[in-house]
Symmetry: C2
Subunit: 230 residues, 2 copies
């Protein structure tokens, strides 16, 4: 069923742009109903406006009570006719009330192989730790940060000379594929949460592979479950 | 410089066997001087004996004081002429005294993408969490468990239907390549610990790749840094 998406973002919103692109290309069965930001002037707002998508801005600096703030967001989401919440660099914890209101319909993307390196500085923390493989995770959102059931993960190599600035583009290039893919699986109603694990129901035309992997100009990568055309 | 290895293992010792095989094939510049176990009857002991390698067994159940126990191990390692300690499923914490005695010369392999899922049940914990990518990590040993600087990591996909029993063989097949590779880099004196990161000095014939990846009968995998012939 066509997803009616509300995207929440605090910054550049490259993942929001990737989702919009996938919708426009007919890959993702969804409509972007509204883009919401807690930061006035966030670049994602201009991207949304250029794409003709309504925006809603409410400065989180002005609002001391998280539940009051989130209630305003829920009203904006409801007014926009959205049924699915897509977090894309939304740098603010959601209240349990917000999570309960859209349980099972809130997705987040986090630039690490969760549960390693949750929190605001996932990429930088991975660099500091010295892991040789990192990546990104799309997951269902629960009350605690960066901890919900995992839908899809991508891995890329980390080099000894990497900084956050050199690693991030390699991760983001793949985020722009795995996030639309995860949303399309949600649109196809193929995701089943069983305990803390996510079971992906088979496609009508299963391709039989165990993972997607390849080599881009930015380097090698591997995705599990395998991508289906993204 | 040829490594003089003491291997510590509590169980089957498939990684010990893989190291011995790499030595015998002339891939790994090392000698296996002694195999040590804290469990009488551990299968690794028979493997070692068949390969003509001296063994030392001291039942950890008989010994209440960890430092006393580790002192006996240090003496056995010294007597055997070993200078490098290889942990391979050694299910016992080392005392800080032991770690200090061989600092920078103790390696461990752990069946997860550290820092995710440290501890005894790495593979099972990854399954329970529902990650879609897991693997194994070779790292230098520090006082705290499964936390030292990372030398090499391998990743494999995890499937929704996986159990520990089905995931483990896919991880182990790659462990048998990355552990000898990490040891060969140590033998070539190419590993430099800088803070918590490990810098791998270039090979004399650098191959220029960012990672090794491939597809085996067990499925796809990716290793970083890239393997050099292993």
């Amino acid at each position: 069923m066509t997803l009616q998406i509300a995207a929440l973002a605090s910054g550049v919103g490259s993942n929001v742009a990737a989702v919009i692109k996938s919708i426009n290309e007919g890959m993702l069965d969804a409509r972007m109903r509204i883009v919401i930001s807690n930061r006035p002037g966030a670049p994602v707002l201009e991207k949304a406006a250029q794409a003709g998508i309504p925006v809603y801005v409410k400065d989180s600096a002005d609002c001391e009570n998280r539940e009051d703030y989130d209630r305003a967001l829920l009203a904006a989401i409801c007014d926009a006719g959205a049924d699915t919440v897509v977090l894309a660099g939304y740098m603010r914890m959601l209240s349990p009330m917000f999570v309960a209101a859209h349980r099972g319909r809130i997705l987040n993307i986090h630039p690490s192989l969760l549960p390693s390196f949750p929190g605001r500085m996932g990429t930088e923390d991975a660099i500091k730790y010295g892991v040789r493989l990192s990546g990104s995770t799309v997951h269902f959102v629960q009350e605690t940060m960066d901890s919900g059931p995992v839908i899809i993960q991508v891995v890329v190599p980390v080099h000894a000379q990497d900084t956050g600035e050199t690693l991030m583009p390699r991760i983001q290039a793949l985020e722009h594929r795995i996030y639309p893919q995860a949303l399309q699986w949600l649109a196809e109603d193929r995701l089943r949460v069983e305990g803390h694990r996510v079971n992906l129901l088979p496609a009508r035309k299963p391709n039989g592979s165990m993972a997607s992997f390849g080599q881009s100009p930015l380097g090698p990568w591997m995705v599990s479950p395998p991508l289906e055309g993204f």
